[in-house]
């Protein structure tokens, strides 16, 4: 648990961060809270030459209201996100999911953008931003670009953020009236990663589900939308039986792996059971 030697630089602007990453070459790595990165360093699974600390960049901190969306700085801590009034009012699903991330100590250090850029499909927040159609601003040597959540997550621990780029902020559309949300996390110990997690947002009008967005955690190399369930739910009545029937296809389009917590069959079973439960709670059933 002793990392290899590395350099460290603390920067106070996005431009400085990009410059430092570029100077550091392929082995440079961004650090903010370090809650995912430091264990990798300590186990020598990663050996960056230089860490570029972006936790002091003002632009990457805090939450702003854009009218129909909110923008969250990538280096905002989980703790700050889940207690932010704008987030609680307009993106409650994110507040709920963030409250299940690890434990309070980690939530005080770990950051929202860090958790997304880490690209761990067992992390709780990637499926949330995917379900909510968020978009990410990424800064690099050639300026800034915006990437939608569906294009952001590329593969295991791989995102659209390049080696010389920094994730600056995440913009999440507000859901508006009539929506209910829930994050259903299934794990073995309180601080454990999700074996399966379900981020659900459901709009109910007149006893019927008129729109549904469902993101699945740890069901594929990247977070996935349960698109067939979303389609099946739309137009059904908000009743336990109909929701359960609509969620039978929750595992469609996933690529469940086998690990000590769940084999493929069990994981797919959990997707169905937990999606049904998440939707039921979100729909107020």
């Amino acid at each position: 648990m002793i990392p290899s030697t590395f350099d460290y630089v603390r920067v106070n602007s996005v431009d400085a961060a990009v410059a430092a990453l570029r100077a550091g070459g392929e082995d440079a790595k961004v650090i903010t809270g370090g809650q995912s990165l430091l264990p990798l360093l300590r186990m020598r699974l990663a050996a960056p030459s230089i860490l570029v600390d972006c936790s002091d960049i003002d632009e990457m901190q805090g939450v702003t209201d854009n009218g129909d969306s909110v923008t969250i700085g990538a280096a905002t801590t989980h703790w700050a996100v889940m207690h932010n009034d704008l987030v609680k009012a307009h993106v409650p699903l994110l507040a709920k999911a963030t409250a299940t991330v690890a434990d309070p100590q980690i939530r005080h250090r770990g950051t929202f953008g860090g958790a997304l850029a880490h690209g761990d499909s067992a992390g709780d927040l990637p499926s949330v931003v995917l379900a909510l159609d968020a978009s990410m601003v990424i800064a690099g040597p050639d300026g800034r670009r915006t990437v939608s959540a569906k294009d952001f997550f590329v593969d295991y621990f791989t995102t659209a953020v390049g080696a010389d780029e920094v994730l600056v902020s995440i913009t999440i559309p507000k859901l508006g009236a009539g929506w209910g949300t829930h994050y259903e996390k299934f794990n073995r110990t309180a601080q454990g990663w999700a074996i399966v997690g379900v981020a659900a947002a459901v709009k109910v009008e007149g006893g019927k589900i008129v729109d549904a967005r469902i993101g699945l955690t740890n069901c594929a190399p990247v977070p996935v939308r349960a698109s067939s369930v979303e389609a099946a739910l739309t137009g059904t009545s908000a009743s336990a039986a109909e929701i359960d029937a609509a969620c039978a296809s929750a595992a469609a389009g996933t690529h469940a792996t086998t690990d000590l917590g769940a084999d493929k069959e069990y994981r797919e079973h959990l997707m169905r059971v937990l999606t049904s439960r998440a939707v039921a709670v979100a729909a107020g059933v």
Binding site: M1, I2, S4, T5, R42, M43, F186, R188, T189, A190, Q191, G192, W193, I195, L260, G261, A262, D263, Y266, H269, L270, V273, L274
Partner: protein, 792 residues
């Protein structure tokens, strides 16, 4: 001087632990905190392979790294590469392979020590490991115990020609006795239980620091150990350093659970290298190392059968074990299953008993003592099969237990395994537990949930356990071929200014001995608890001791404290009588003050006596100066705590996830010195026992890679995962020691595992389930339900 006279007795009071301020704030000496100028830091290159030949090993590359001074493989270490001892040859023909400190030509488990580097800092030493070049030729590994016993299996030690370490048989009623019982039985229930492999996971990783720069010319080893005294003897045998030139200190130690009851390779390495080089050498393990290099626990396959009449009277018990030794034998590896051997009959009256254990080598980390050491395994098997027998007979599981347990008026009782239980009252503990639990109401709710087909089913689990504490007397250990005694020592002295030093041979690592031992001495000597300093864990300041494990410290060490304290008072009485010019028999003693019978104005305090004994100006002719006394006690027998544990658990049959609703236990550990410490021990034990039932389990793949090599995969529950426990007690004093104490260090861990699993099985029995594997993870439970064809 009569300030303490009216104080209530210290024993029995829930006094806050004296040691906690320093332990909780960390303002103390852990081995890793100790820094000595000129110290080398050691890092160890460990085998990444389960089984491989070392075709070549070149450590020279490490020497090119900055800050590196030395690097050693087995060849470079030469004669210093001693062999780790096993002190318990359980049979005359036991196979005991060589266990070199650094592997010689072959590695036999992931984590096996291959080479070491000494550098100026821990970071430089860790970096330099990358400069060592090892060429491995993979050899077939054997992980599964039954596979290892098959002809043609890969051999862990090819020179031994077998993977079998030993076969131990005990048939107290003779060969054929069990068969006769089974023949006359109406019912015989057979089960195979798996007691999975566990990793001790104490909070403070191991650390060791050896320094040749002692106060005199002795070599000092600070190490995070439970057994400084035993370790010194073993290190002398392994390294050749004379025992009088070797001082072993266990500073504050952050947990052990048996995992620090060991003579570890790293302890030998730092000692031998510091001695050779004349420089201090320190090693602190990483958590990753701890998972593969600290000995593991449990890992037994248990085939058990029980024979009974149709009305539930037990006739016979047969147990056949396969016990995983791992790749090598550590200090008492082969004996762990045999500590359990005596306890399979539990609290029950049975006519015949037949026990066999096969020890087997595999390409895994060696196993050894882990909280309970043999008794959790036996308790699990008997308490599980009692529930299965009850189901077979259509009886309530508690009624079956009541029908067969030893009644309180029958103690002392000699069991079918040949042990004589000192005392107990299973009826009282059970009645109290059942009342606190609300057994009938829970059974009613269970029935309602079953009727309504609720996806969340309720189960009730029972465990009426007993165990044996305080490994002793020494001659019994000798009869078991265990190469150590079971005695304990105490020296107690009153200093010239009236404060007390109590020197104990027990070696606490979280148990609160400093407080509890002070309470015992306080009542006898009559000085306040806070005036007593407990000195422990250092072979120079507390030279005699057998250390702390097996819930022995109070049951054995407590007797030495009691006797030494009594001797001290008697010695003081002679001096006081001389001072007061009366005969010793004319003195009364209470609250630290001697008073002349019939003339209470004439008195002398123990502190006053101590000062007189210090100046020695006016002592009786036959009394030597100083006020001190010592006692070394070899107890007459074990003690047998017991208790009734009840667990209610909700099982979500759709996901397989179990949640403990309530947990009630009533433990009878005899006289309690400090009920707060008792409660703490019970809580921690419950957490560990529940963890075995539901969370923890070391898993290897077929090549010998440990898949649960970090806390991401090796799951340890936190407070957030555990229920609020209801703990209570009954008190039936032990009759095997004058304090009336038993032991509590392992009780919770021993009792709780079967209570939890019995509860899960009970919840699922209507679905056709009659066993669940441990740990009962959601997937394991869901799979079990699927296999039984029960819920969807």
């Amino acid at each position: 001087m009569t300030a303490v006279a009216d104080n209530p007795a210290a024993v029995g009071r829930p006094i806050r632990r004296k040691e906690d301020t320093r332990l909780l704030t960390g303002r103390t000496q852990w081995t890793d905190n100790i820094e000595i100028p000129g110290m080398f830091h050691m890092a160890i290159l460990r085998s990444p392979m389960g089984h491989a030949k070392i075709k070549s090993l070149d450590v020279s590359g490490a020497l090119k790294y900055p800050g590196v001074h030395h690097a050693y493989g087995a060849e470079e270490l030469g004669a210093l590469n001693g062999s780790i001892p096993c002190v318990w040859a359980v049979t005359d023909d036991m196979v005991a392979p060589d266990f070199p400190v650094l592997a010689k030509g072959e590695v036999r488990h992931v984590g096996d020590c291959v080479a070491v580097v000494l550098a100026d800092s821990a970071y430089e030493a860790a970096d330099a490991l990358e400069g060592i070049v090892v060429e491995y030729e993979p050899l077939p590994a054997v992980i599964n115990m039954e596979d290892a016993l098959k002809p043609g299996s890969p051999l862990v030690h090819s020179d031994k020609g077998t993977n079998k370490c030993y076969t131990y048989v005990m048939q107290p009623q003779g060969d054929g006795a069990y068969a006769a019982s089974a023949a006359q039985a109406d019912v015989v229930v057979k089960r195979r239980f798996i007691n999975q492999r566990l990793i001790p996971s104490f909070m403070e990783p191991r650390a060791a620091l050896a320094s040749p720069m002692g106060i005199s010319d002795e070599l000092t080893l600070w190490t995070s150990t439970q057994i400084p005294h035993v370790l010194r003897v073993l290190l002398t045998l392994v390294t050749g350093i004379p025992e009088n030139k070797l001082r072993v200190i266990a500073p504050d130690v952050g947990g052990g659970f048996g995992g620090k009851l060991q003579c570890y390779r790293e302890e030998v390495l730092v000692t031998a290298l510091a001695n050779k080089l004349g420089r201090p050498v320190k090693w602190t393990e990483t958590r990753s190392e701890d998972m593969v290099a600290t000995h593991h626990g449990r890992d037994q396959i248990q085939d058990i059968e029980i024979a009974a009449t149709k009305d539930g009277k037990l006739l016979g018990l047969k147990v056949e074990l396969i016990a995983n030794m791992g790749a090598y034998l550590q200090i008492i590896t082969p004996g762990i299953p045999l500590l359990g051997m005596f306890m399979y009959p539990g609290i029950y009256k049975i006519d015949s008993y037949d026990f066999t254990c096969h020890g087997v080598f595999t390409n895994t980390t060696p196993t050894d003592a882990y909280r309970g050491a043999g008794r959790p395994e036996s308790t699990y098997a008997i308490e599980r099969i009692m529930d299965e027998l009850a189901d077979e007979l259509g009886m309530d599981p508690m009624e079956l237990r009541k029908k067969n347990w030893i009644k309180h008026e029958q103690f002392p009782f000699t069991t079918v395994a040949g042990l004589t239980y000192d005392s107990g009252n299973y009826e009282a503990a059970t009645d109290k537990a059942m009342g606190l639990f609300g057994y009938e109401a829970l059974r009613k709710e269970q029935e309602e949930r079953r009727k309504s087909g609720n996806p969340v089913q309720l189960g009730i689990g029972i465990s009426t356990f007993t165990e044996m504490c305080g490994l002793a007397p020494s001659r019994t250990l000798g009869a078991l071929k265990y190469v150590a005694g079971g005695w304990e020592h105490c020296t107690i002295r009153v200093l010239p200014t009236g404060k007390v030093e109590l020197v104990t041979g027990t070696s606490p690592h979280g148990q609160g001995h400093e407080t509890a031992w002070s309470q015992i001495a306080s009542d006898i000597i009559g000085v306040p608890v806070e005036d007593i300093e407990v000195i422990h864990g250092d072979t120079r300041t507390s030279p005699y001791g057998m250390d702390t494990y097996g819930s022995r410290s109070l049951a054995v060490g407590g007797q030495a404290i009691m006797r030494a304290s009594e001797k001290l008072v008697e010695r003081a009485r002679v001096i006081a009588a001389h001072q007061l010019e009366v005969s010793a028999s004319d003195l009364e003693y209470s609250g630290g003050v001697f008073r002349v019978k019939g003339d209470p104005s004439k008195e002398q305090s123990i502190q006053g006596v101590a000062f007189e004994a210090f100046t020695a100006h006016n002592l009786p002719d036959d009394v030597e100066p100083t006020l001190q006394a010592e006692s070394t006690v070899d107890p007459q027998d074990f003690s047998y705590p017991h208790g009734t544990h009840l667990c209610a658990i909700e099982v979500d049959t759709q996901t397989g996830k179990s949640k403990i609703r309530s947990y009630v236990c009533v433990d009878d550990i005899g006289v309690q010195i400090n009920p707060m410490i008792v409660e703490g021990q019970v809580h921690g034990g419950l957490a560990q026992g529940i963890a075995q039932a539901m969370y923890e389990g070391a898993v290897y793949d077929s090549d010998g890679q440990l898949l649960t090599a970090s806390f991401v995969d090796y799951l340890i529950p936190s407070a957030a995962d555990l229920p609020s426990f209801t703990t209570d007690s009954t008190i039936t004093p032990s009759t095997s020691n004058p304090l009336g104490v038993k032991g509590v260090g392992e009780a919770g861990a021993i009792a709780s595992t079967p209570a939890v699993i019995n509860a899960i099985v009970d919840a699922l029995r209507p679905l056709g389930v009659n066993d669940v594997p441990m740990p009962a993870s959601p997937m394991a439970v869901w799979r079990t339900i699927q296999a039984a064809g029960g819920a969807k």
